[in-house]
Symmetry: C2
Subunit: 156 residues, 2 copies
DNA sequence: AACAATTCCTAGTGAAATACTAGGAATTAG
DNA sequence: CTAATTCCTAGTATTTCACTAGGAATTGTT
């Protein structure tokens, strides 16, 4: 019942894009550095997110990535579904369910469906915008302590 | 975000024990046959469940396994925790959390905690007794469906 | 005592997934 | 032209998954 590093890194990287939303593209290397993720690995994840239409890429010098939609319009579920597959504890309760001989006669399936629904509810109702607001809270706490880890500045 | 066959088989087998609760031990071979699970594999799962105190074993002829507690007293969470590990999408939000440098300054952790809580709520509140009641409903449906399909096929 | 049915235990294994790494081609701003 | 970037294909070490194998120990029955 674990999210893998794909989902973890993907969400962290997408949060970074949400923070810089509307300020032009940012490069993989910048995100990878800030979030301590392997550059090459993040490249793969971004390829999937791009193919899924969640982010837009710009090639060449001063290129990079930006969110394809506003942070309010991208749920964590959107990201997880691309990087981890359907949100479902079992294939038989996925949106496009895999057939199982028990299907119509399975008490455990009712259980997995309950679990699937509760998971989906959380992941669909949580957006990048919400996550950004949470991050700002932490940022404010940090400011009072020492330095900010999340800045909206155009450092280059 | 998937439950593996360990959790799936484990819950199905435990349901079988719940169905026979109070009627003496049943053997692995009987459960494996009924639930279409590899006998040897189920043996491993039952070893874990026994070590965790969820089931009791009886060796020798006419031996087998039975629930260590009443079906009302065993939650699906109890089973999953034994066979799949802590109920948590990320190690940093498990009950005995793995340390992470971000820990106190991580917006995504708040998200994973929300997800963890909702998953745990479902799995803790669902017991084997509940699952057994669900199974009985299907049994009742099957009876009426079976009769209906017999008469239908006779007509056709 | 012999036997059959069962759990118990240790070890092994092929396939798939995970979490990357490597290297270079294509593109674009300055 | 050059430096910075994405894009693409391939490879790889490690871990996990889902079993399988084989026999020792235990216990009810005859």
């Amino acid at each position: 019942m674990r999210i893998t590093s794909k989902g973890e890194y993907g969400v962290r990287a997408m949060l970074e894009l949400a923070i810089h939303y509307g300020q032009g593209p940012i490069s993989i290397s910048a995100i990878a550095k800030k979030q301590e993720i392997s550059e090459h690995y993040l490249e793969h994840l971004f390829a999937s997110l791009r193919d899924a239409g969640l982010i837009t890429s710009f090639r060449g010098a001063h290129g990079g990535y930006e969110l394809a939609r506003a942070p309010e319009e991208i749920s964590i579920g959107d990201i997880i579904r691309v990087l981890e597959g359907p949100i479902a504890p079992m294939d038989c309760v996925a949106k496009d369910p895999v057939f199982c001989t028990r299907m119509g006669n399975c008490a455990t399936r009712v259980l997995w469906k309950k679990l699937q629904t509760s998971m989906e509810k959380v992941l669909e109702s949580t957006t990048l915008a919400w996550l950004y607001e949470e991050a700002k809270k932490f940022d404010a706490e940090d400011d009072s302590l020492c330095n900010a880890s999340i800045t909206k500045s155009n450092e280059e």
